[in-house]
Structures are given as structure tokens and as C-alpha cells.
């Protein structure tokens, strides 16, 4: 299960896990194809019987409808099963991707744009589902349909079968030609539509200049020009769209006409391949019109597969990214170790080192402030102690354990981290503090809120701690206080305080610093701060690497 390197393995896994489902899909796909073949054959028999003056039995009549209904049922079942299967695939894929996300290196996470990353989870995975249900499986079904119709025709009217065999490749080429041109025109249209819709906010933005220069007429003309471009492209699509099926249907009629004519010749050699009874003629007319639809679908499926491939590549790219080494489930405590220690640490985010051979020892109960210029590596020291990055050389130890080896479950109880800015998570006020951690009791939450001075504010809310959070619920300073409560709620032994970047007014800043001072009491604290009124303790200067 681990180390899934690409989509293919996930797909195979899903097929393997859903054996019954996969088999059922195969049965319904083939079943629908076969059952669609039968009604025309039965009808042929009924018509032939009728021509020779024999009325069809009630059984045959009911069977005829039964087969039509069966086709409908099988198609319906196929669609349902495909939906289920597609969902299983997307579920599996998203699970694997989420697993991968927890294993990505912190560096890879830091550089990724969250919106773009989320788009891969949502949009790209959907295209993969599409690739499967609208692409590969439908393609299989359509191919089956074509082959089976040809097979039946080869028995009923071999001449027609031969003609179709020659005609179908040409038809397919024509279909692809039309579809490709349509796609091109559609893309062009989409670009033009994009320009036109971007023009509206642009107008709003530039409205002062437009009014001042009296350019309303010009702007309208320009807007109309964009719409015109879009319609030019759309007319092209319309042309192909409007011309395609008439041509197919004319071809269809031509085939029927030719077959009818040939079967009407008295010539024995022609009749050997084209001869048929009236019943067969009815069936053949039905088959001819059935064979054109899958050809058209085949083209669309190729297109679906092509456009899904880009999504597949993007997902594979994520699944192939390097992974961090995961922390173990438990570790042995080390006695007599310092609360935090850097031992000859060298580290850089890329080739360039930010820290070179840095050593630092913070004893339990000590309060240390990291000082140094911007870019000197103060935040980097914190990140190493948080275990986000493994050092290139040397060791970053917390209570004697390498920081990146601290088990997930112990983390909050060893270190509390107050981030530069508050990261709101979706959920209630309580969940902002607990981060959905069930181990944290109600009493702990209240205590933390009280410690940072937010208890009264929160209790004054409509639903107290159960109020759902939205950015406007609290002021910037209050969010920062909540961030402190989040770090302190588990009563960690060591607190890491990053510089708070939010723009706070003097009074709020005072509140935040007070709260920081309160939570720092009787705890080991390492902080980065320029603020004068914070308790600094020992000052360690971090010097930048040239």
C-alpha cells in the first residue's frame, strides 16, 4: 500500500479490491451490447413471418418488448455501476494523495500554492475519473458495439458488412477531423470569452479614466469587439456542429438506399452477397443507424482521454515527489538532556547554507531570545527545533531526541508553537484551540482561553466555544491571542514563539505581550522578538552566513 508511485497502481488496486464490481461492469457492458443486437433480429423474424402470412405469437411480441426493456435496464445498470466504480477510483486516489501529503517534505509543502494543490485533489482527480468512465470503458463498449453489429451483418448481409468495413475508417477520419476543428474553435472561443469577461472588472477598475476622457463609446466598441471575436469562433463551432450529423444521416440514407437497390437486382452474383428478405431489410436499416453513433462517440472518447492525460500527469507528479522520513510511533525518553539543543548544525533550504555549524543549548526553565538581522536564520532555528526540516549536518535535539523523530502524538505535549500569523482552521472556536484533538478536555480549553484573556470574549459569543469561525469574528489581535491559546492548551514543556507579524495597535499589542508573558511563566521559552516590552531572558545572536 505504501509508496504509491503513480495512478496506474492506484487504478489496479481499485480493480483488485472491487473484483465483484469490476466483473459486474464487464457483464453489463457486454450484456447491453448483446441485448441491443437482438431486437432487430427478432423483428426481422416477425416481419418475415408476416410476409408469408403467419402472425407472430404473443410470446414473440412480448419478448420483443422484453429485449428492448432489458437493453434499457442493462444500460441503466451499467451507468450506475460505472458511477460507483468511478467514485471508488477517485476515493482511492484522493486517499493516496492525502497520504502522500502527510509524507511530503516541509520544504515541498512550503513552496506549493495551496489553491493549486487543492485543484489537483479536486479537479484533476475528477478528470481521471472521466478518463475511466467517459474514456476507456465507454470506448470499450463502443468498440464492442461496432464489432458485434458488423458480425451480425456479416451473416445477414455480407456485402453491406464489406461496404461498412471500407466506409467506417473514412467516417472515423472525418469525425476526428470535425472534432479537432471544433476543439480548436472552442479553445479560441474560450480565450475570447476570457478576454471579454476580464474586460468588465477592468472597466470597473479604470472607470475614472474612462469617464474623465469621455471614452465610454470606445470602451463599448472594444467590449463588442471581444464579444465579436468570441462569436466568430463560436460560429465556426456552430458550423461543424451543424454540419456533422446531417452528413452522417445522409450517409446513413445513402447506405440504406444502396443496400435496398442492390438487394432488388435480379442478378444472382449480386444477390449472393446483398440478397435479403424483407424482415432482414428492416433489421439492416436498424443496424445501419446503430453503427454510426458509436463511431461518433469513439471520437469524443479519444478527446476525453487526451484532455485527461494532462490531469494524470499532474497527479503523478505529486505522487512521485520525494518523501520525508516519518517519525516513529514512540521514542524512549532521554534523561538529563537539555530542553532544546542544536549540535553543530548546518542547514540551508537549498545549496546555500543559512546556518553553518551552529550550536545552542537551552536548559529546562530557561528563557532565551534569538536576535539577529532579517534573514540571519532565526526562524530557521525554530523550524529545525519544530522538526520541520532535518539538518544537513549535526543534530537538532528536543529533550535529547532528534526533533524530526518526535512521535506525532507527543509533539503538542513537548512543544507549543505560536506562529507568526494565525492560521484559521475550518470549525468552531473550540476547534481553533484544540485542532480537533479529542485528548484535550473542556477544562483545558477554558483554562487556555482564560490564560490569554479571551474567555469572556468567547463566552459572550452566541454559541460560546461552539461558534463557527469566520475571519470577521475576532480582531487581528484576538486571533493572535487564540494562536497563543492553541499553543498553550496542552501545557507543553517548551514554548517556541515566532515574531508576530500582524499589525497590532499599541493596546492590542500590549494584550498579546501580556498573554505571552503569562504563558511563558515556569516554562522553557525560545522566542524571536524585537518588541521592547517582552521579557527577553538570555539573548542569543544568530549571525547570517555570507
Amino acid at each position: 500500500m505504501r509508496n504509491v508511485k503513480n495512478i496506474r497502481t492506484v487504478l489496479l488496486e481499485t480493480v483488485k479490491h472491487q473484483t465483484c464490481l469490476s466483473l459486474a461492469i464487464l457483464v453489463t457492458v457486454v450484456g447491453a451490447v448483446v441485448s441491443a443486437l437482438l431486437p432487430p433480429l427478432l423483428l426481422a423474424k416477425i416481419v418475415d413471418d408476416l410476409t408469408s402470412g403467419v402472425a407472430a405469437s404473443l410470446g414473440n411480441v412480448v419478448l420483443y418488448f422484453g429485449l428492448l426493456a432489458l437493453t434499457g435496464l442493462l444500460e441503466s445498470a451499467r451507468e450506475s455501476l460505472l458511477t460507483v466504480f468511478g467514485q471508488k477510483i477517485t476515493h482511492g486516489l484522493r486517499s493516496r494523495m492525502m497520504e502522500k501529503l502527510t509524507r511530503l517534505t516541509s520544504g515541498a509543502l512550503a513552496v506549493r500554492d495551496p489553491g493549486e494543490l487543492a485543484a489537483r485533489f479536486v479537479g484533476d482527480v475528477d478528470t481521471v475519473e472521466n478518463l475511466f468512465s467517459a474514456g476507456i470503458i465507454s470506448m470499450f463498449a463502443d468498440l464492442c458495439k461496432i464489432v458485434s453489429i458488423l458480425a451480425v451483418l456479416s451473416r445477414k448481409n455480407p456485402g453491406l458488412c464489406l461496404v461498412l468495413l471500407c466506409l467506417l475508417p473514412v467516417l472515423f477520419a472525418f469525425t476526428r477531423y470535425v472534432q479537432k476543428n471544433m476543439l480548436k474553435a472552442q479553445l479560441e472561443n474560450r480565450r475570447a470569452v476570457g478576454r471579454a469577461s476580464a474586460f468588465v472588472p477592468q472597466t470597473l477598475h479604470n472607470i475614472r479614466t474612462i469617464h474623465a476622457l469621455g471614452k465610454e463609446r470606445y470602451m463599448c466598441a472594444r467590449y463588442d469587439c471581444f464579444i465579436g471575436q468570441s462569436y466568430g469562433a463560436m460560429e465556426k463551432t456552430n458550423f461543424y456542429d451543424a454540419i456533422y450529423s446531417p452528413i452522417i444521416l445522409i450517409l446513413n440514407a445513402l447506405m440504406v438506399g444502396i443496400v435496398m437497390l442492390l438487394s432488388a437486382t435480379g442478378d444472382a452474383s449480386v444477390l449472393r452477397v446483398f440478397g435479403m428478405s424483407a424482415g432482414t431489410a428492416v433489421a439492416v436499416i436498424g443496424y445501419i443507424s446503430q453503427i454510426f453513433t458509436p463511431v461518433e462517440s469513439l471520437g469524443m472518447e479519444i478527446q476525453a482521454i487526451q484532455s485527461a492525460m494532462a490531469g494524470v500527469r499532474r497527479i503523478d507528479e505529486i505522487l512521485a515527489e520525494p518523501e520525508r522520513s516519518m517519525p516513529p510511533e514512540t521514542t524512549e525518553p532521554v534523561s538529563g538532556a537539555a530542553a532544546a539543543e542544536l549540535r553543530n548544525v548546518t542547514f540551508g533550504y537549498d545549496e546555500k547554507d543559512v546556518l553553518q555549524n551552529v550550536s545552542l543549548r537551552v536548559e529546562a526553565g530557561e528563557q532565551v531570545t534569538l536576535a539577529g538581522r532579517t534573514g540571519a536564520g532565526k526562524s530557521t532555528v525554530l523550524k529545525l527545533l519544530l522538526g520541520l526540516y532535518p539538518p544537513k549536518a549535526g543534530q537538532a535535539l528536543l529533550f535529547g531526541i532528534p526533533a524530526e523523530k518526535i512521535p506525532e502524538g507527543d509533539k503538542r505535549y513537548l512543544i507549543g508553537y505560536v506562529e507568526q500569523s494565525f492560521h484559521m482552521v475550518p470549525g468552531t472556536v473550540r476547534e481553533q484551540i484544540t485542532l480537533y484533538d479529542d485528548r484535550i478536555t473542556e477544562a483545558q480549553v477554558r483554562k487556555a482561553a482564560e490564560l490569554v484573556g479571551l474567555l469572556k470574549t468567547i463566552e459572550a459569543l452566541d454559541k460560546g466555544f461552539d461558534t463557527p469561525c469566520a475571519p470577521e469574528l475576532f480582531s487581528q489581535g484576538q486571533w493572535q491571542l487564540l494562536s497563543i491559546a492553541r499553543a498553550a492548551v496542552t501545557d507543553p514543556k517548551l514554548l517556541l514563539l515566532d515574531e508576530i507579524t500582524a499589525n497590532l495597535d499599541a493596546e492590542t499589542e500590549h494584550m498579546v505581550l501580556e498573554a505571552l508573558n503569562r504563558v511563558s511563566e515556569n516554562r522553557t521559552v525560545i522566542s524571536i522578538s524585537h518588541r521592547a516590552s517582552a521579557r527577553t531572558g538570555r539573548i542569543v545572536t544568530v549571525t547570517p552566513q555570507a
Binding site: T51, H91, Q202, C220, I243, I250, L261, A264, L435
Partner: protein, 579 residues
């Protein structure tokens, strides 16, 4: 071109306005849909002829004539179909274009204040995108009117002609199928909504995990959040399956219900053929009837589409309609600048609604050709003074140009007097040339030279035709500023208000541009608002603003009279200016 009776908020009027295209659509639509009957009829006839040939009574010639007629008829019918499809879409495009033009004209002529207030701008933006849904509904309605309405009618009539009793029996079932679909629509909608809700929840959870990944990692919450995400996936999966199954899987079933008439048809139809039924049929009639009914059943099961499209369009239309109401906007003709004249400002006061007064009793006057510097400490009201001339909000006191009060001018008259360039260069996402000329034909080169941008533009990949990107993002700040200045000079007005046009430029460039500004401005009055003073000694007049009050005079006068001005001057001459 604009007729007075056209009311943009009446759907009917759009149909009327496009009557020529719709006439085409109607003619070709009728030919196509009625002609559709010819297919099954000929197919039946040919089958009948084949029977005759096999029994020895038919001839190959008759078959050849039938086959030829068949192919030609299909050619005509399908040809009309092509025209119908093409022109229905053209109709939709024309309507959509017209609606968008009207909406856009309303947007572009609305005042800046009303657009920024109450999100009116975004309402208009939304309305423009609603147009697409509306028109899509109108298109589908027109299409389905023929493809479903006329076709069903034609097929129905044909069936009734062949055997009205049998036709009535068979045609009971398509409405039942339709009713079943209607009945289940609620379920489809409900599951669909739930599916959408779950999709939104999953999206939110995904974004949360992506955005807060490092926070969760630092607090050791990753594994827990992963498990929670698994739950999101589970509930999304079941909701999505339900929604999709109800949506897609039912269609074949409805079709089967609509086809329930088939066994009756075959049973009673063959009685007709064998001569024991209600009507007397040959084989041709039998197969034609069957083919017609199958097509009718298929069409009927798509009738629901018509109503859905119309319903969706109605929802969008309700949002668009109030905005479309009223007369179409008259767009102002292109502006001819007024002749130079004197500008008088007396006791000008201004305040934003509900805020403190920003300008108090400002008075000064300027003669044609004068360049006036406006300066003062941060937030002294100098930018507000510049904007006051645009009359976006009412002022008290008086601003007169050539004796005419600013607030009494029409919008067109005002834009013939005042040229304005604010902090934001407000560039279009268009070429360099377009940004300067904005549709006018005069040569832009002299103006590019005047703002010292000519050489840089020449070095750009496409020269004057280089695209500057959205909001001019592909240009540097200084380039964007100079381009906007070139645009303002190109559209010269007797009063030019330039708010800090040189802020992103270095001092030598500023000096050079100022020299050409003086030359190009000629008889115009230039009000140059700036926080950098080294050009001020060359100005004809200087306005010093502090807390909304103005002291006017020449540079020398102010140096003597105002120690603040002298101090600021000295400080900047000392070279402590931030570039």
C-alpha cells in the same frame, strides 16, 4: 439603428428584433421536422417493394426510383436541419451580444460612486455572466419548440392517420414516462443538492489540508486530519453516487416505459397486416408505424429537457431583468476639448459623505498656460483637491472654467474641460498604442517621446503593439506611469490635473519630461500635485496645502511666507528624497 419601441427588459422584444434569423429558423425547422416523417415512410415503402420483388410483382426500376427519392428527401431534410441548427445558434449569439452590449453600456456610463457603492459593480459583472444562461435557455426553447414540439406533433398525426385506435393506445405511454420523470425530479434535485453540498465540503476540507498542512504538522495533527479527510471522502462518495445514479441511470428506464406501446403496436399491427385488425395495412405501413413510434417515444423522453432549460433561464432572467430595465444608454459622442480659458476656484469645500471636511475654503485662480504645483504634508487633502474637479461627489463653493460652474456641466462638457491622471495609471490590458490613443487616430509617437518612453517601447518585442498585460503588469511602475501620462497628454484638455505623475521616476527623467510637458501643455492649465519639490521653482504658482487649507502664491512668495514649505524644500534639496 436604435428603435424606440425596443424594450431591453422584455424577452419578446429580443425575439422580435431577430425576426429575420428566426424566419429562417422557422422555415428550415418546419421542413426538417415534418420532413423527418419521410424517412420512415420511404424505408417502409422500400421494404414493401422488396417484398413485392421477392414475390415477383415488383420491379427493380420502382425500387431505384424509391431509393433515389429517399436519398434526395433525406438530403433536403438534413440540409434544412443544418440551416436550422446554424441559425438558431446565430440567433442566440445575436441576442446575447445585444444584451451584453446594453448591460455594458449601462455599466460604463454609471458613475464611479454608484459602481463602488453596495457592490453594484459586482452585481453588474454577475448580470453579464447571467446573460449566457438566459440566452442558452432561449436557444434551447427555440430548438426544442421545433425538435420536440413540431416533431412530436408530426409523428403523432402520422400515427393517427395510419390507425387512430392503435395510435391512441401507443401514445398513452410516453406521457406516463414523462410524468414518472417529473415525479422523480424532486428526488433527483434533492440528491443533486446533497451531492453539491458534499462536494463543497470536500473542497473546503481539501483546501484546509493544503493551506494548513504545516500548522497541522507542527502540532502533530496530520494523521488525525488525514483520517478526518477519509470521512469526508466517504460521505462525498455516497452522496456523489446517489446523485449521479439518480441523474443518469434513470434515462434508459424512462425510455423503456415510453416504449411500452411497442408490444401493443406489434400485436395489433400484425392483425392489421393479416387483415383482421382495425385498419388494412401492408408490410410497409407496419414498419413505418413502428419506426415512427420509436422516434416519437425517444423525442418524448427528452421533452423534459425543454422545461428544464426554460426554468433555468427564468432564474437568470429574473436577475438580469431589473438591470436591463429603462431606456438604452446614449453613449457620449467623442469629446472636442474646450478652448483655453481661466479657471477660478472660490471657497471650495469638500467632504466625503459622513466624514469630516477635507477641503476648507480653497480659493485660487489660474490663467491659460500656467503650471501650478500643489504640495503639502501627507494627508493634507491634495489628492482630494484634484478629484474635486471630477465632480464624483458634490462640493460646495465654486469651481468655474470660462465662467461656467463645474457642477452644472454635463458629463460630456466636463470631460471636454478637465483631464485627470490619478495615482493609479488605470491602464487597459491592451497594446501600448491602444492605451495612449484609446480609439483615436492621431500619431502617439510624439507623446511617447515627450514622456521619454519612445526608446523603451521601440526595444519591446512588438513595439507599439506590445501588450502591457492586465493593469499594465508587464510594465515597470515607472513605465506604466509614463504611459498613463502620455495618454493624458494625448487627450489634451484645457485643464490637466496630474496627481503625482513622476513618483516612480528618477530626477533627471522627471526634469526632461517636465520640459516637454510644458511644451505640449501649451495653453492648458496644469495642476501638478506632487510631494517632490525640486521642480516647483519653475512653476507659475504654488498651492501649499495643510489640513485642507490652501495658501497660494509664487514659489518665492511661499518660501518667504511659509517656514514649513521652506523647510520641506531645504530637506529635499539636501538630497534626502526617497526615490
Amino acid at each position: 439603428m436604435r428603435d424606440k419601441t425596443f424594450r431591453p427588459d422584455r424577452v419578446k422584444d429580443y425575439f422580435l428584433a431577430e425576426w429575420k434569423v428566426l424566419l429562417f429558423v422557422t422555415a428550415s425547422g418546419l421542413i426538417y421536422n415534418i420532413g423527418l416523417l419521410a424517412g420512415p415512410w420511404f424505408e417502409g415503402k422500400m421494404t414493401g417493394e422488396l417484398v413485392d420483388i421477392l414475390t415477383g410483382s415488383g420491379t427493380m426500376k420502382r425500387m431505384a426510383v424509391l431509393a433515389l427519392c429517399y436519398v434526395v428527401t433525406v438530403l433536403i431534410v438534413q440540409g434544412s436541419r443544418y440551416f436550422k441548427r446554424f441559425y438558431v445558434r446565430r440567433f442566440a449569439n445575436n441576442v446575447s451580444r445585444r444584451m451584453k452590449q446594453i448591460l455594458y453600456a449601462k455599466l460604463v456610463t454609471r458613475s464611479r460612486e454608484s459602481l463602488t457603492a453596495e457592490g453594484a459593480g459586482s452585481v453588474m459583472t454577475k448580470a453579464i455572466s447571467d446573460v449566457d444562461d438566459c440566452v442558452e435557455g432561449m436557444r434551447k426553447f427555440t430548438t426544442e419548440l421545433f425538435d420536440t414540439g413540431v416533431a412530436l406533433l408530426a409523428y403523432g398525426c402520422m400515427l393517427l392517420c395510419y390507425d387512430w385506435r392503435l395510435a391512441l393506445i401507443c401514445m398513452v405511454f410516453p406521457p406516463i414516462s414523462y410524468a414518472a420523470a417529473e415525479k422523480l425530479k424532486r428526488v433527483v434535485q434533492k440528491t443533486g443538492e446533497r451531492g453539491k453540498e458534499q462536494a463543497a465540503a470536500l473542497n473546503a476540507a481539501t483546501l484546509d489540508r493544503a493551506r494548513n498542512a504545516l500548522t497541522y504538522r507542527v502540532f502533530g495533527r496530520e494523521e488525525d486530519r488525514r483520517l478526518a479527510y477519509e470521512q469526508n471522502l466517504d460521505s462525498y462518495e455516497s452522496a456523489a453516487i446517489r446523485a449521479n445514479v439518480w441523474n443518469t441511470a434513470m434515462t434508459p428506464i424512462y425510455r423503456s416505459i415510453a416504449l411500452l406501446g411497442v408490444p401493443f403496436l406489434v400485436w395489433f399491427g400484425q392483425k392489421n397486416v393479416t387483415g383482421t385488425g382495425w385498419s388494412s395495412w401492408d408490410i410497409a405501413a407496419f414498419t413505418t408505424f413502428l419506426a415512427c413510434f420509436t422516434k416519437l417515444a425517444k423525442k418524448a423522453s427528452s421533452a423534459a429537457k425543454l422545461f428544464n432549460a426554460v426554468h433555468k433561464a427564468q432564474v437568470s432572467w429574473r436577475r438580469v431583468k431589473p438591470i436591463l430595465a429603462g431606456q438604452e444608454e446614449e453613449l457620449p459622442e467623442s469629446v472636442t476639448p474646450e478652448a483655453p480659458a481661466t479657471l477660478n476656484v472660490e471657497n471650495l469645500c469638500f467632504a466625503y459623505p459622513g466624514a469630516e471636511e477635507l477641503l476648507h475654503d480653497v480659493s485660487f485662480s489660474a490663467k491659460p498656460g500656467q503650471i501650478i504645483g500643489v504640495t503639502g504634508p501627507v494627508a493634507c487633502g491634495k489628492s482630494t483637491l484634484g478629484k474635486a474637479f471630477l465632480c464624483e461627489l458634490p462640493y460646495s463653493g465654486s469651481i468655474t472654467f470660462a465662467g461656467q460652474e463645474d457642477r452644472e456641466l454635463t458629463k460630456e462638457q466636463r470631460s471636454a474641460v478637465f483631464g485627470y491622471l490619478g495615482h493609479d495609471p488605470e491602464l487597459l490590458s491592451a497594446s501600448v498604442k491602444e492605451n495612449i490613443c484609446m480609439g483615436d487616430t492621431k500619431d502617439p509617437m510624439p507623446y511617447l517621446r515627450a514622456v521619454r518612453l519612445d526608446r523603451e517601447v521601440a526595444e519591446m518585442e512588438l513595439g507599439l503593439d506590445t501588450l502591457v498585460g492586465p493593469e499594465g503588469h508587464r510594465l515597470s511602475g515607472g513605465q506604466a506611469q509614463r504611459l498613463a501620462l502620455a495618454r493624458t497628454l494625448y487627450h489634451k484638455r484645457p485643464v490637466l490635473i496630474l496627481d503625482d505623475p513622476f513618483s516612480a521616476l528618477d530626477r533627471p527623467t522627471e526634469k526632461q519630461i517636465f520640459a516637454s510637458l510644458r511644451e505640449i501643455a501649451g495653453d492648458s492649465i496644469v495642476l501638478l500635485i506632487s510631494h517632490r519639490l525640486y521642480l516647483f521653482p519653475e512653476f507659475d504658482q504654488v498651492l501649499w496645502m495643510e489640513a485642507g487649507r490652501v495658501t497660494a502664491g509664487t514659489h518665492e512668495e511661499l518660501l518667504q511666507k511659509l517656514p514649513e514649505y521652506a523647510a520641506l524644500m531645504a530637506e529635499q534639496e539636501g538630497g534626502k528624497v526617497h526615490a
